[in-house]
């Protein structure tokens, strides 16, 4: 009897390993997803090890060297230097830190409540619970997130922390809506009915039966959202409502550098392309995941 359960366990693990292998085979067949993965790994590497791999780590903050101001890209300064002589490549690497941190904090804080709300509303479809939750999300979805985030930052002091808070407050409804669609279609499936019949509690059904079945859509959306949140964060600081100088933030760097167009174009174009680079990576990876997991919505 005991060895039987062990065999079943063994078989399950084997099956899982095979599934993973098959998934990787499918994923790696698409060279664009691999490019995305490489970009993201490179960005993570630069962000985490910025103090060690960046050429001039002391240039990250308030550093001034007017003798080297406005140097065009060269072998010494690959992306040139800015108006006060700081190496732009260094500041871009530290800027990746802020972008990634922003994206992970926002998604990490916004996804759990959003997912929970969507699951609950979907499970109690066509009841007052559903109506209340989904009408509230409708209100949040009625205005583009950037605009509401701006409005919130208006009444708060402009800094990175409040910018994150504002975007987080705007972000959870998107998860609610995604998960609601999946949960409300699953709530009539046989496996849910089976769990109900055997007397499983509602939290168990919601979190252990329905949630695992929506996880691939959630995961894909999270990957794609990293790119979108990075764009929104950069947009906020571009307008002047996010990170304040001398913080090395990509959006702030673009808006500061825009003053020196067209002659010192690299001051603004380098951080701008850095944003495109990281967002491109997450989008390629997200699209690859979507194809691999055969997720329709998102």
């Amino acid at each position: 009897m005991r060895s039987d359960t062990l065999d079943i366990q063994e078989g399950l693990w084997k099956k899982r390993r095979e599934n993973l292998k098959r998934a990787w085979y499918k994923f790696s067949g698409n060279y664009l997803s691999i490019i995305g993965l490489i970009i993201i790994l490179a960005v993570f590497f630069m962000a985490i090890f910025a103090p060690w791999v960046s050429p001039y780590p002391e240039h990250r903050g308030a550093f001034v060297d007017f003798g080297n101001a406005m140097r065009s890209p060269s072998s010494e300064h690959l992306l040139g230097t800015d108006a006060v002589g700081r190496d732009i490549l260094t500041r871009v690497m530290f800027g990746f830190r802020f972008s990634l941190m922003m994206a992970f904090v926002v998604i990490g804080l916004a996804a759990p409540p959003g997912i929970t709300a969507g699951l609950v509303a979907g499970y109690f479809r066509d009841t007052w619970v559903d109506t209340i939750i989904m009408r509230i999300t409708d209100v949040f979805l009625a205005v583009p997130p950037l605009i509401l985030a701006m409005a919130i930052t208006a009444v708060l002091p402009p800094n990175v922390f409040f910018a994150m808070l504002a975007v987080t407050l705007m972000w959870w409804p998107w998860y609610s809506r995604l998960v609601y669609g999946i949960a409300s279609s699953l709530q009539n499936e046989f496996f849910v009915q089976a769990a109900q019949v055997t007397g499983a509690s509602r939290p168990y059904i919601i979190f252990r039966e329905i949630l695992p079945n929506s996880i691939s859509s959630i995961f894909t959306k999270m990957t794609l959202d990293v790119g979108i949140v990075i764009i929104i964060a950069a947009s906020l600081s571009f307008v002047g409502l996010g990170a304040q100088p001398p913080t090395p933030d990509l959006g702030t760097m673009v808006s500061d550098g825009a003053k020196y167009m067209p002659d010192q174009w690299w001051v603004t174009v380098s951080p701008a392309l850095a944003i495109v680079f990281v967002v491109l990576g997450f989008n390629l990876l997200g699209d690859g995941l979507r194809d691999m997991l055969a997720v329709e919505e998102v």
């Binding site: 989904m134 009408r135 509230i136 409708d138 209100v139 949040f140 979805l141 009625a142 205005v143 583009p144 997130p145 950037l146 605009i147 509401l148 701006m150 409005a151 919130i152 930052t153 208006a154 009444v155 609601y180 669609g181 409300s184 790119g227 764009i231 950069a234 947009s235 571009f238 307008v239 002047g240 409502l241 673009v254 808006s255 825009a258 167009m261 067209p262 174009w265 603004t268 174009v269 701008a272 392309l273 944003i275 495109v276 967002v279 491109l280 989008n283």
Partner: protein
């Protein structure tokens, strides 16, 4: 469901959404730490002025009373006094909104025309270098923030090629047409001032293009994928078997049913467009409602900020109603379905 019932239901839902939105905006704009009027006017403003505006905003009353009075004003088109310009916010809105609407109109034109054109081109030349180029461009359109496009266009077309002006709505030497609709290209056409019309067009081109890029790419991608899906359907095969030319099939029989998905994401495109307007208007010094909104936010002018967010919210909701009705008209399957996704 009949289409009139559909529209009525849709309208009722939207009114609920707008009421909720007004509560949300009110909470954001009034429940600030400290005195909002003092915050906007600064420490040096005389106390009488602060008291006068506070009384106008009913700040001495309870929050529910303040909300009801504010909402009453909003319904009548009165958003209160701007804490910065000291003018009525509605007056400012009338001056700045047309510029943004004009920008959104041209941007929408570029988006729809080139988006669908690129999508058709991509399918027509499927798996050739043309297709790959279109897919490459539309991918970058999606991942590039609008302000990056704006800056690159300013550099390329403004400074290096010197082909288009990069700031404002008209050149200095052109006298603006009289204020009729507030949209320069429309007003100059009405008054027959073609010089101002063409000058206005050259000014609007770059900002409209920057604003259109994201939506255009999205449209191209959706058009391509929905046309590819329909390409293998039996009715297309039947048309081919009858010997109908490939071009005719493409534009007459394939495009129309494939347009439904592209129309239904116009609402989303519009959302992206009005968010991006905040960035593009800033880069091109475009005197529109979004730039006004950014300035209101930076100056903590809460009345003006609430007005801008509320107006954009209303515009967005109205656009979505129109899109839903058009899609329901095009695609009867949607009218029949009682689905939540139509209730945004």
């Amino acid at each position: 469901m009949k289409i009139s019932t559909f529209i009525l239901r849709r309208l009722a839902l939207s009114i609920g959404v707008l009421l909720g939105l007004s509560i949300l905006i009110f909470v954001i704009s009034r429940v600030v730490p400290g005195d909002p009027v003092r915050l906007a006017l600064g420490a040096r403003a005389p106390q009488e002025v602060v008291d006068k505006i506070s009384a106008e905003m009913y700040l001495d009353r309870s929050y529910p009373v303040q909300y009801v009075m504010w909402l009453k004003g909003v319904v009548q088109g009165d958003f209160g006094t701007s804490l910065y310009t000291r003018r009525n916010v509605s007056h400012d809105v009338r001056v700045y909104l047309p510029a943004t609407l004009e920008l959104a109109f041209y941007s929408g034109l570029i988006m729809a025309f080139f988006g669908i054109f690129l999508g058709v081109l991509s399918v027509h030349k499927k798996n050739t270098w043309v297709d790959n180029l279109v897919r490459f461009i539309s991918y970058f359109g999606v991942v590039t923030p609008a302000f990056v496009f704006a800056i690159i266009f300013v550099l390329l077309f403004g400074f290096y090629m010197d082909a288009f002006p990069i700031s404002g709505r008209l050149s200095q030497h052109i006298s603006p047409p009289p204020f009729i609709t507030g949209m320069i290209t429309v007003d100059s056409l009405i008054t027959g001032n073609f010089r101002a019309f063409f000058n206005g067009l050259t000014h609007i081109f770059l900002p409209a293009l920057s604003l259109a890029m994201a939506g255009m790419s999205q449209q191209a991608r959706i058009a391509r994928s929905s046309m590819s899906d329909n390409l293998n359907k039996d009715y297309i095969l039947a048309h081919r078997a009858y010997g109908i030319s490939e071009r005719r099939i493409m534009f007459l029989y394939l495009l129309k049913p494939s347009l439904i998905p592209t129309v239904s994401i116009i609402g989303l495109d519009f959302a992206v467009m009005i968010s991006n307007a905040f960035l593009v208007e800033l880069v091109f010094n475009w005197p529109g409602i979004s730039r006004y909104g950014v300035n209101a936010i930076l100056r903590k002018d809460l009345n003006a900020m609430a007005a801008v967010v509320m107006i954009l919210g209303i515009t967005f909701v109205v656009v979505n109603i129109i899109v839903d009705v058009v899609v329901a008209y095009l695609d009867p399957r949607i009218r029949m379905r009682r689905d939540r996704s139509s209730a945004l």
